[in-house]
Amino acid sequence: MATILCATRGGEASYPNQDLAIALAKERNADLLFIYVTDVQFLNRLASPVLVDMEAEMDRLGEFLLLMAKERAEKAGVKAETIVRRGVFRAALEEAAKAHEVSLIVLGSPAGETSITGQEYLENLAEDVWAYTGIETLLVHGGEIIAHHP
């Protein structure tokens, strides 16, 4: 059975994107694999002491957010699994795509306006992921497809 890999951060803004991935999974009779990539780079610019194992905290948060996404999918009758990875988003995504032999990658455009999540960055990322993996890649925002590779 085909697998669709959906990268999501959770949160209300990502629900339409998750719903689109769920609809695509139904349409293509595929399973869904939600991925959350833990990234604690934002701590690097702060001077206050980071005495907490933030990667572990963010892993737990990611697992919870993906569990919510999984419940949405299962409620819609789509089988879904979740994975949480650490490190650089693109590398983690490509590694997961290859390891799980996915047929489609759905990149949810996150809410917020940081340099990492800017529109141009995401469009380039989607193109690079497609070029590297050869897997059909969609960039979605607000439940609509905004870039499709190839």
Partner: protein
């Protein structure tokens, strides 16, 4: 291959920990020692004391006694920590004697002693010139240090560099100007390395370090997440009630640990609870940030600025608790009222109810992970708090209490010492040290004295006005500029005002600084590191906090809480003093 028994490893760990702490203590105590001035001998002495316009002693001023026609001075002395100096002469000149006092960044002061004064010196073997005031001189070094200081503040405010890198860059610039620039243009000289080190407050460094070890052990137990989950259960799905409990929990946790760590721990679990309840999680999290910035004010260890203020002004744990808590509670009540009003639409949202799987996951993510470590670290932490209070009676500085508490925990709980050494965030300690030197540079060249003088003229002898200016002035500055550099820069100013305004000896202006610096951090998203780290976590969970969204809640709460703090300090120290 023979395996080393594991018991040995524990012993070695403890030894390493003890050796490390002893080394740190020795370094700190060594640095705190005052270098004695080389002694001289003589039958006659001329004495005096030098201070600046703000009545602060001028240390290390060179005092010389000359007579006309002689190239070499008759006697040379150096002013001490309290500004006092003694010139020792073998014989008294017959006609006149000139005493010159020189110090970088001050005008040279010349005092001529005539026949009358010299005969008194000969008669009594000693003559006092009394208290002398040295005038500041605006040197090229003044402008260089001021530009460097402002540049560091701006780079930190706009996050162009990591705060530690920015402070280190400022420190390096100060020394480059001093040693390279000063070689070509002597007026650029700011201060030397030995002098720069005297501006580092080692008590702050060791207190922060000791608390880091204690917090690192406690946070690993999962107590915060467990408490947040219990608050969720207690609220029975009533979001308005939950936010009140969470604000109270965050405020208390911030007072006992620090607001930054508290938000690191509370934000992920609060996000989960908010999303599970079907409300905007920011309606829980933003009030928690506001409460964390305010709650920390009530104890010595609650905010980095309180640690700075406590070490600088000798204000102890009990002093903060007794003199600030009522103001903090009043501020929190006002903040909670505003938050309940602002998010009133969220409280009406009724979620569909949480699924069993989500509830189980929430419960699992909020479990106590190491019960044994929790009770041990909890007990030691309570004892450390008690020792903070009791220690004040025996003049035990909080840094020593924190270091001893950390050592006891390392021995008793036996965590991985390497992990604990890593848990000590050296970037923060280096930030503090570099910042102290950069602030020391502007203090050395006289910028802080100028500011203090200007504020002194503005405030006059009106204590209530002084409290008002500091609470709201520092509070407003802290909405945009990191409050640690502001507090560090303001300390000498507040010290001057405390000495010059009648009634300020109660240290009320230091408490005003504490309240202004911490509460001001709530004004804007960039106002405090707890705000920024919270925004970082929520963004990575798909619920970003926008600048405007934070401002709409944060700014009104800031001025409400500043008003509450001001009112309390006014009642406590001015009206009923």
């Amino acid at each position: 291959m023979k395996r080393i028994p594991s018991r040995w490893t524990h012993v070695q760990r403890v030894r390493y920990a003890l050796a490390f702490l002893c080394l740190c203590l020795a370094l700190g105590l060594g640095a705190m020692q005052i270098t004695p001035v080389a002694g001289q001998s003589g039958r006659f002495s001329i004495t005096g004391q030098v201070s600046d316009r703000q009545n602060q002693p001028v240390r290390k001023a060179e005092v010389r006694a000359h007579i006309a026609g002689l190239a070499e001075p008759l006697a040379v002395a150096e002013s001490q920590e309290d500004g006092s100096w003694v010139l020792l002469l073998q014989a008294v000149p017959t006609e006149y004697l000139t005493v010159t006092i020189e110090r970088r960044h001050f005008e040279v002061q010349t005092i001529n002693l005539g026949v009358e004064e010299l005969s008194l010196l000969e008669e009594n073997a000693t003559y006092s010139l009394g208290e002398l005031t040295m005038e500041r001189r605006i040197s090229a070094g003044f402008w260089a240090a001021t530009i460097i200081f402002l540049a560091v503040l701006l780079v930190i405010a706009f996050e162009k560099l990591h705060s530690t890198t920015a402070a280190l860059a400022g420190l390096s610039a100060v020394f480059v100007v001093t040693f390279v620039g000063g070689a070509f243009l002597p007026d650029l000289y700011i201060f030397d390395f030995e002098r720069a080190l005297t501006y580092i407050n080692w008590e702050v460094i060791f207190l922060v370090m000791g608390m880091m070890v204690i917090i690192a052990i406690i946070e690993g137990t999962g107590i915060f997440q467990w408490t947040a989950f219990q608050a969720y259960r207690l609220s029975r799905g009533r979001a308005w009630f939950l936010v009140l409990i969470m604000m109270a929990v965050t405020a208390v946790a911030s007072a006992l640990l620090d607001n930054f760590t508290t938000m690191l721990l509370m934000t992920p679990i609060s996000l989960q609870i908010g999303l599970a309840m079907g409300i905007n999680p920011l309606a829980l999290i933003i009030p928690e940030v506001l409460a964390s910035n305010v709650g920390g004010i009530s104890t010595l260890i609650g905010t980095p600025t309180n640690i700075l203020i406590g070490a600088y002004a000798g204000i102890g744990f009990t002093d903060f608790l007794v003199n600030q808590t009522a103001g903090v509670v009043l501020a929190l009540v006002l903040a909670a009222g505003y938050v309940l009003f602002h998010y009133r639409h969220e409280w009406r949202k009724s979620g569909e109810g949480i699924s069993l799987a989500l509830y189980k996951r929430l419960e699992e993510n909020a479990r106590i992970e190491r019960p044994e470590m929790l009770w041990k670290s909890g007990l030691v932490f309570v004892l450390v708090l008690v020792a903070f209070v009791v220690g004040e009676r025996f003049h035990v500085v909080p840094a020593v209490t924190a270091l001893v508490g950390a050592t006891v925990l390392l021995i008793w709980v036996e965590p991985d010492v390497h992990q604990m050494i890593k848990a000590v965030d050296w970037t923060t300690l280096v930030f503090f040290m570099a910042l102290f030197i950069v602030v020391g540079a502007v203090q050395e060249v006289g910028l802080i004295s100028l500011l203090a003088g200007a504020m002194g003229r503005l405030i006059g002898e009106n204590l209530a006005l002084g409290v008002l200016v500091i609470v709201f002035g520092v509070g407003t500055l802290s909405t945009t500029i990191a409050n640690i550099p502001i507090a560090a820069s303001m300390l000498p100013v507040v010290q001057f005002l405390t000495g010059s305004i009648p009634g300020a000896s109660s240290q009320v202006l230091y408490y005003a600084l504490s309240m202004g610096a911490a509460m001001g951090g709530n004004g804007l998203l960039i106002g405090g590191e707890a705000n920024l780290v919270t925004a970082g976590i929520t963004e990575r969970a798909g619920s970003p906090i926008s600048f405007m969204e934070f401002l709409k809640v944060g700014l009104p709460v800031t001025y409400l809480t500043l008003a509450a703090g001001f009112l309390w300090l006014l009642l406590r120290f001015v009206v009923f003093n």
